[in-house]
């Protein structure tokens, strides 16, 4: 596989990652969100492996396998179990309507391209064209956290943000040192467990997973 082909393949995968990020913004159903998140993880994992091959960085294969295991299998599974246990399969409510969110997302992508244009000119990596996509994924994840009301969707937004960061790391510098990546992977896993515990607590306290309810915690004066 020649390098230019790898770079093109990577660009395609980046486009798919961005597409799933928009999908996450647009999706109303919680299972749909979960599937889209798993797909994003899969594309990320393949992209990491491709970059690893193209750049000859063999530790990226390990990251790729870790991503596959964690973000495609384990985390969606944990969230799936949570959704069944908490009986929250119904439609997800949004705070801002979906077309408006999409428009904001597009603005963010343009902003990211604008932001990373000086880096693209300076960088010599094969992956340099995808930095903007990575940054856009991070921002879209944050936007998703802002526009959704439900706690589970916020977690998915958070994890999508993490995907974006990971993608940024591989595309900007051919990945972080393996130790750091292992640490991050462990953090994500533990975070998922903690979220699970918190969901149960939030639900027992408020009888709902709607984070709007938490406004009641604010001190009145």
């Amino acid at each position: 596989m020649p390098i230019s082909f790898a770079a093109q393949l990577n660009s395609v995968l980046a486009a798919l990652i961005l597409l799933t990020a928009f999908g996450l913004l647009a999706q109303r159903r919680i299972y749909g969100l979960l599937h889209l998140f798993a797909w994003q993880g899969l594309f990320l994992s393949i992209s990491t492996a491709v970059v690893g091959y193209a750049a000859g960085q063999h530790h990226l294969y390990i990251s790729s396998i870790l991503t596959l295991a964690l973000k495609v299998i384990v985390l969606p599974y944990i969230l799936h179990v949570l959704i069944i246990r908490l009986k929250i399969q119904k439609e997800v409510e949004t705070l801002v309507n979906i077309p408006a969110t999409m428009l904001m997302g597009i603005a963010l992508v343009i902003f990211s391209y604008h932001l990373t244009s000086p880096i693209r000119e300076l960088s010599t990596l094969v992956t340099r064209s995808t930095i903007a996509v990575a940054l856009a994924t991070v921002m879209l994840g944050l936007l998703m956290m802002i526009t959704r009301k439900h706690a589970v969707t916020q977690i998915i937004g958070f994890l999508a943000m993490e995907n974006g960061l990971f993608f940024a790391a591989t595309s900007a510098t051919y990945g972080m040192p393996l130790v750091v990546e292992l640490g991050v992977a462990l953090d994500i896993l533990i975070a998922a467990f903690i979220f699970g515990i918190f969901f149960f607590h939030i639900r027992t306290t408020f009888d709902s997973l709607d984070v709007e309810q938490m406004a009641r915690l604010k001190e009145e004066d």
């Binding site: 932001l115 944050l142 956290m145 802002i146 984070v211 604010k218």
Partner: protein, 680 residues
């Protein structure tokens, strides 16, 4: 090999040992008290020895301790100035530790004393380390250890709202002060080696730096503000009369006796040792704050009914007197007059030592009264001289010393301060020549008011008859408390009788700081006579005054008792009114009435009288109720507005907090986007 440095390190290790022993012994509280306070007494004794030794030999040695952050090791230094303050802390620390063995036992059965033992040891260790520190980093860490430990000590009886409030106020003021000190050190370190590196954090680097005059002034006033907050200089004194009374009395003795002195140490260290070169008006500012504290402090003290609160306000006064000495010394030093500068500095430092001794003694005495009667309000006590003769006699010595009466120590240091004042005509500035004598007059007024204040404290508490509604079983305190107080009283007497020896010993400090020698002129006539500058001007002899007083008193005693029949005990003449009760005695409130009438505008006085009249005729009053509340104006003028503004700002800022996660996320999102746009 034994040297002062090994002794102080040993002292710190002894305190560490005490801290290690606490968890092992917390089961048996009695044993815990005896062992921990004995160990702190040993540590204080070691420090005392090291301090005396350092000053005596004029040692200046620095050490690098391999603790602290990487590349920022702790520095320690022993020099005559730190030696002098180690002596003060060691001496009072030893006395109070001995006293604590008995005093803290009073808590057994009421509450666990483990925390008191832990924080007492930490407090003492913190004060030792503040004095030893030779870099800003170690100094501030020790300073915070001291502040935090004393916060917990003030909080010791935390079930009372009053105590929690006092402790919080103390913490706030202490930290505002600490921030100012931190900024001041930062400025000095930056001027020393530039703001790029951290190398300027040692005091040694600051010592060798030359500061631009404006920045030096900013650094000095920041440091002065910070240390003044700790020392309780008016108007930063508000925490002091709240925190000292509610702390356990042994802790009040330490706080008032030596913790305030660490702030004096800081001022002297920063001014004379680190900045070194200063204009005369800095000294004038210090002098003015000193005068204000001395006069207002004692006036507020006179209005107090709470014995410990009275003592706390009196500490404000004494800190003022010490600052007067230091301010004069700075002024003289700025005009290059080393001998007079040394005189004023010696007066200030001597008063530091003296105040530690007599205020320690008085707080221990108040603690003994509290221990025996569980009463802090003077209006509810009285007549204790019959039940507690030892405590009364020792407390009286403390009162005489603090009222600056010969032959006790307070007289010597205040007399030296007056000498410094009166010699200020040597200054080349006419303005100062006119104004400084006014300061002397104010100091004289403060000294007279102090005497009045302590006549009240002693008279109302110990003389007359018991005023309280119920009469508790009052007993004399045990040997350890009496030993602690006795040692302090003895120190008061000795410091008053042998000032020449002391000044000879302390000379190393003024030689180091202002390059002026006092010992030659002060001790020109041997140990018997103290002649500060020359014997034509003024001289004082403690031993001769003591002999005179003892002679007169014994003569009178002999004359009265030679004929047994001269003393009668008979019924009191009751002016024809038959039902005299102890409630009709002269009260503390009544005693300070004249001052309230004359100088009432200085206080916030609220006086109320309610008469319940008899039904038969309005001329017959059945019951009269009198209530009085005296506060200082400064709270309303200075602190209340600041508190109101900060609450107002907090409420405004609180609106940002919507309680909705999305809004918080938008804040971060907007911040990120904004930063990306700006810093692209």
């Amino acid at each position: 090999m034994i040297s002062p440095f090994t002794l102080t390190t040993a002292a710190l290790f002894v305190i560490l040992l005490a801290l290690i022993m606490v968890p092992l012994l917390s089961r048996s509280q009695r044993l815990l008290i005896v062992s921990v306070f004995s160990l702190t007494a040993v540590a204080s004794l070691l420090t005392l020895t090291a301090g005396i030794w350092t000053v005596w030999d004029g040692i200046t040695e620095s050490y690098i301790i391999l603790l602290g952050l990487p590349d920022l090791p702790f520095h320690m230094r022993l020099d005559p100035l730190s030696g002098f303050f180690l002596t003060v802390i060691g001496a009072l620390g030893f006395m109070v530790s001995v006293y604590s063995i008995g005093y803290v036992k009073g808590f057994i059965g009421h509450r666990p004393v483990t925390s008191l033992a832990v924080f007492y040891s930490l407090f003492l260790a913190g004060m030792f380390m503040v004095i030893l520190a030779d870099d800003a980093f170690f100094f501030l860490i020790s300073w915070e250890v001291m502040a935090a430990a004393s916060y917990f000590l003030v909080m010791f009886e935390d079930e009372k709202t009053e105590n929690r409030r006092a402790a919080f106020l103390y913490l706030v003021v202490a930290h505002i002060g600490a921030i100012a000190i931190l900024l001041s050190f930062g400025l000095m370190a930056g001027s020393a080696t530039g703001f790029e590196g951290f190398n300027g954090y040692t005091f040694d680097a600051m010592r060798h730096a030359t500061f631009p005059p404006h920045w030096a002034a900013v650094a000095f006033f920041l440091a002065f503000f910070g240390f003044a907050a700790k020392a309780g200089v008016i108007p930063l004194h508000v925490w002091l009369p709240e925190a000292h009374p509610v702390a356990p009395s042994n802790v009040s003795a330490l706080m008032s006796g030596i913790m305030l002195k660490t702030a004096i140490y800081g001022i002297v260290r920063v001014t004379f040792d680190l900045i070194r070169d200063f204009p005369w008006w800095w000294g004038a500012v210090v002098l003015i704050f000193g005068l204000a504290s001395a006069l207002l402090g004692i006036l507020y003290a006179l209005q107090q009914q709470d014995l410990k609160k009275l003592l706390a306000y009196s500490s404000v006064e004494n800190i003022g007197i010490i600052l007067i000495g230091i301010g004069l010394s700075m002024t003289f030093a700025a005009f290059h007059n080393p001998v007079l500068s040394a005189l004023a500095l010696t007066a200030g430092l001597y008063h530091t030592l003296n105040h530690a001794m007599f205020k320690g003694l008085l707080f221990m005495g108040a603690g003994a009264v509290l221990h025996a009667t569980h009463e802090r309000n003077m209006e509810e006590t009285g007549g204790l001289i019959h039940r507690m003769p030892w405590t009364s006699a020792l407390f009286l010595i403390g009162c005489l010393s603090i009222s600056a009466l010969p032959p006790f120590n307070g007289f010597v240091s205040e007399w030296l301060t007056f000498q410094a004042f009166l010699l200020s005509t040597a200054l080349p500035s006419t303005l100062l020549n006119l104004l400084i004598p006014l300061g002397a007059a104010l100091l004289a007024l403060a000294a007279a008011l102090a005497a009045m204040c302590f006549v009240k404290a002693f008279g109302v508490t110990f003389l007359g008859q018991w005023r309280g509604h119920h009469r508790p079983h009052i007993h004399e305190v045990d040997w350890s408390m009496r030993t602690g107080m006795g040692m302090a009283a003895l120190a008061c007497l000795c410091l008053g009788i042998f000032p020449t020896v002391m000044i000879n010993w302390m000379d190393a400090v003024s030689v180091m700081l202002v390059r002026g020698k006092l010992a030659e002129s002060a001790g020109a006539f041997g140990w018997l006579w103290l002649t500060p500058i020359s014997h034509e001007r003024a001289s004082y002899s403690g031993p001769i005054v003591l002999l005179g007083i003892v002679g007169v008193v014994s003569l009178v005693f002999l004359l009265l008792h030679a004929r047994r029949r001269t003393i009668h005990r008979g019924p009191l003449w009751d002016c024809g009114f038959e039902k005299i009760t102890p409630r009709m005695q002269y009260t503390a409130t009544a005693f300070s009435m004249p001052i309230r009438r004359v100088l009432g505008f200085l206080f916030h006085v609220r006086e109320r009288q309610e008469a319940k009249r008899h039904l038969v005729h309005k001329a017959f009053i059945e019951r009269l109720r009198y209530s009085l509340r005296v506060r200082d104006h400064l709270w309303d003028w200075l602190y209340q507005p600041v508190a109101d503004i900060s609450f107002w700002v907090a409420r405004r800022v609180g609106r940002l907090q919507q309680g909705r996660i999305q809004v918080y996320l938008i804040y971060s999102f907007a911040t990120i986007i904004l930063l990306l746009v700006l810093l692209r």
